[in-house]
Symmetry: C2
Subunit: 145 residues, 2 copies
Amino acid sequence: MFERIVVGVDGSEGGLEALKLAIGLQKIHDSELLLLSVYLEHTMWEASVSYVNTELTGSTHSALQEYAREVARQCKEFAQAQGVEKVRSFYMGGGPARTIVKFCEDHDAQLIVLGSRGISASERYMLGSVSHKVTNTSTRPVLIV
Amino acid sequence: MFERIVVGVDGSEGGLEALKLAIGLQKIHDSELLLLSVYLEHTMWEASVSYVNTELTGSTHSALQEYAREVARQCKEFAQAQGVEKVRSFYMGGGPARTIVKFCEDHDAQLIVLGSRGISASERYMLGSVSHKVTNTSTRPVLIV
């Protein structure tokens, strides 16, 4: 039923809960898990119409990228430690919601699993902006944990 | 994994897609499906602070209730025709999102499945207001189809 499941991870508790549920689904549906960690990266166009410096300082960009890579790696290890063999991890730069949705389409996944709140979420909101936007724009089913 | 799955149905295409996916899950997880159709009903308090007539004309209220009951009945039959035995259907009055979330908690369900858009949705929006609100307020996982 769910051949490929995309799991959005960002190092937060919400992301971990999403991963745990996805692992449970993987075992029952024999799915392949595609773990995706997105680090914020502005396009040249976005930067040009905002006040964002087009060139993040090398160290900031590298730090974000390295963090995302580390999150992806640790999540993959976590899944493998739970006995999951069919798991791959990715880290990509871009707008998080947009990147997740496109990734799901590019990999023809049948499901996206996300935490209701991620690493940037305020305590006030039960549903983070990325999860909200992915649910709003995805043409595939989205499971909010 | 999903012992009880609540499926929100309202007679729309979105609700039917949610039901179909839930049936697929039911077969794999051997879940019990709880189909819920909510007809809009204002509480006395809500009506008192709005311009809604506290007493819907008898025929309007009955029509809404009857429609919800019919949707619930037909969805249950549809599920049974697909070979699902563990299915119950319900129809209730209230605010749809709130009612769905409370119903899930009262029945200790592990998952809510909803169409991304229901019967009231405008073509402009990819995510209906009920699905949005349920995803935002539910403490249990919500699968938006």
